[in-house]
């Protein structure tokens, strides 16, 4: 996710620390805080292809039914990656929160899917009266 060689470790850690402080929510406002600046839509997406070897197990599961655990994990992992990219974009804009986050999934071909996360990058600050 982060290019540690380019950033240098201390800077990368700082980056990670800041990314953790980023408020991510799918609601329009943050309780107790107010939005002081809108920075526009940010998005992150990944296109992932599945592994052929994982698919052998999946085609057996298609006979008897049940959860395709390897697919669940693959999609989950990819979606987090998309969210990370969205976070990085918001970070670059100087935002400290992403609000109204939505997800979208499209299957492109038989073996690949695109996972998209998008939201509005904003700057929020503590409300004076609380």
């Amino acid at each position: 996710m982060f290019d540690f060689d380019r950033l240098g470790l201390s800077e990368a850690l700082k980056y990670l620390g800041r990314a953790r402080n980023m408020i991510i929510s799918n609601m329009e406002e943050v309780p107790g805080r107010r939005v002081v600046q809108h920075l526009g839509v940010v998005q992150g997406s990944t296109v992932k292809a599945k592994n052929v070897f994982r698919d052998i197990g999946a085609s057996l599961k298609n006979l008897v039914g049940g959860e395709l655990k390897s697919y669940t994990d693959l999609i989950n992992e990819s979606r987090r990656e998309a969210m990370d990219r969205m976070g990085q974009e918001a970070e670059a804009l100087g935002a400290n929160a992403i609000l109204n986050v939505r997800f979208s999934t499209s299957t492109i071909t038989q073996g690949a899917a695109e996972l998209l996360a998008y939201g509005t990058a904003v700057i929020v600050e503590e409300q004076a009266d609380g």
Binding site: I23, N26, M27, P31, A58, N62, G65, E67
Partner: protein, 163 residues
């Protein structure tokens, strides 16, 4: 029996065995999955989930945290066959309904578990999304991905903070 009828017996016999076999195995797997879902749902019953867009003003809430849960569930061969038959006369396809129910309840359950892991006890603005997944090289086999996501908070009347 002549040669041709033996050949067709082998052809359709194998198919019939597959349909009957996957019917039994598939329904056992489904029943067990539902039992597991019900058991785990009881464990996270204290986490409240709402589909409202705005936080109630009388609640004191912590910093928000986006949580999500997903599950990819596949149907068995028998259900694909039964749905194909149903497609001729039309109507409700019960076997696919249970597929979506399983996927969605499992996704919701995982979202609640993630909320709890971060110390949350209330999830607002829950949204669902369902996508068809192509798996097992096509052949008309259906699997669906259900995604549930929402914003988790910790109600601070019990002093907890989200992390």
């Amino acid at each position: 029996m002549d040669e041709q009828s033996i050949a067709s017996l082998i052809n359709y016999g194998g198919f019939a065995v597959l349909v009957v076999l996957t019917f039994f195995i598939g329904s056992v797997i489904e029943r067990r999955h539902f039992r597991r879902i019900i058991k785990r749902e009881k464990e996270v019953r204290d986490i409240m989930v709402f589909a409202i867009r705005r936080a109630p003003t009388d609640l004191v809430l912590s910093q928000p945290k986006l949580v999500c849960g997903n599950a990819v569930i596949s149907v068995d061969y028998f259900k694909t066959f039964a749905a194909g038959l149903r497609g001729i006369i039309g109507g409700r396809i019960g076997s696919y309904e249970s597929l979506f129910e399983r996927a969605r309840r499992e996704a919701m359950l995982r979202m609640k578990i993630e909320a709890r892991r971060h110390g949350g006890n209330i999830v607002l603005n829950v949204k669902f999304e369902t996508t068809r997944i192509y798996s097992g090289g096509g052949r008309g086999a259906i699997s669906v991905e259900a995604l549930a996501y929402g914003t988790a908070y910790s109600r601070s009347d019990d002093g907890a903070q989200i992390h």
